[in-house]
Amino acid sequence: MTAPALDWAEVAQAVSEVVGSSVGWETPASVARRAGIPSDLSGAFIPLAGEGMAIQLGLTGTDASCRMLAAALLQCSADEVAALPLAEVADAVCEVVNIAAGHVKARLVESQQGIALGLPLFIHGAVQPGDRMDVDVFDLRFGEVPLVLVLLHRRG
């Protein structure tokens, strides 16, 4: 079985909408394709895998962006944002990426059964895709909060 062909820009648009509604950001995000993965990033990645396909969906940003995303999900006040422990920021960003991936999975199962959603992982630093991975990267801007969506997917 071959993996379904995906329009990654469409996936990015859908992810931006789910992220926005997950954290209560009502203004739609601007979504723009960008070249390359940021070299110094923080964010959460989650795998989606099925027969003939493997995707890693990553929602990343600066530490400040991740903190703003977590604060919005948790409905924290401005004072509480700065005091959020890193573990809670990571947990919240992981939860947002988990929600987004659930919606991507729902789109994928329309054309391919047996796709499994894995568990999210929060990382700091650089991501190096393997030789057989293609990469699509998008800037998602929610008002003053810039995020980067990284979609790693197996070639062929």
Binding site: L73, E88, A92, N98, I99, A100, K105, L117
Partner: protein, 120 residues
């Protein structure tokens, strides 16, 4: 009622508790677990009236938790609150004996609409 909230995300557990408050569904006692295995032990020992469980969790996922309970003859009421929204997932949940499957993200109104009827 004693309600067990099972999710590996502390953020999501707090959102569920917050949504109970925002929906005006007060007066319940909450217990939390971070995976299915921990929840299974709590259900066996403390007998909650209702379990709200995530689907994808480490150690033991939500559907395995539900199927393990039913295999033991334990009919504790359980509903899923999960990012899984595929029709096949919902079908498996309901076939295994879940009360409902509520997809994240959810609004306070949707939460109330789905959960309130199971709090009696």
């Amino acid at each position: 009622m004693k309600i067990l909230v099972v999710d590996d995300s502390k953020a999501m557990r707090s959102i569920v508790l917050r949504t109970f408050r925002q929906a005006g569904l007060d007066g319940h006692t909450f217990v939390e677990a971070s995976n299915g295995r921990e929840a299974l032990e709590l259900i066996r020992t403390s007998g909650p009236d209702l379990v709200l469980a995530d689907w994808n969790m480490p150690e033991m996922n939500g559907i395995t938790l539900l199927q393990t309970l039913r295999a033991e003859g334990n009919n504790t009421r359980l509903g899923f609150i999960t990012s899984e929204s595929a029709a096949e997932t919902k079908e498996e949940a309901l076939k295994s004996g879940a009360l409902f499957l509520l997809t994240k993200p959810f609004t306070v109104d949707t939460f109330k609409q789905v959960v309130a009827g199971h709090l009696a």
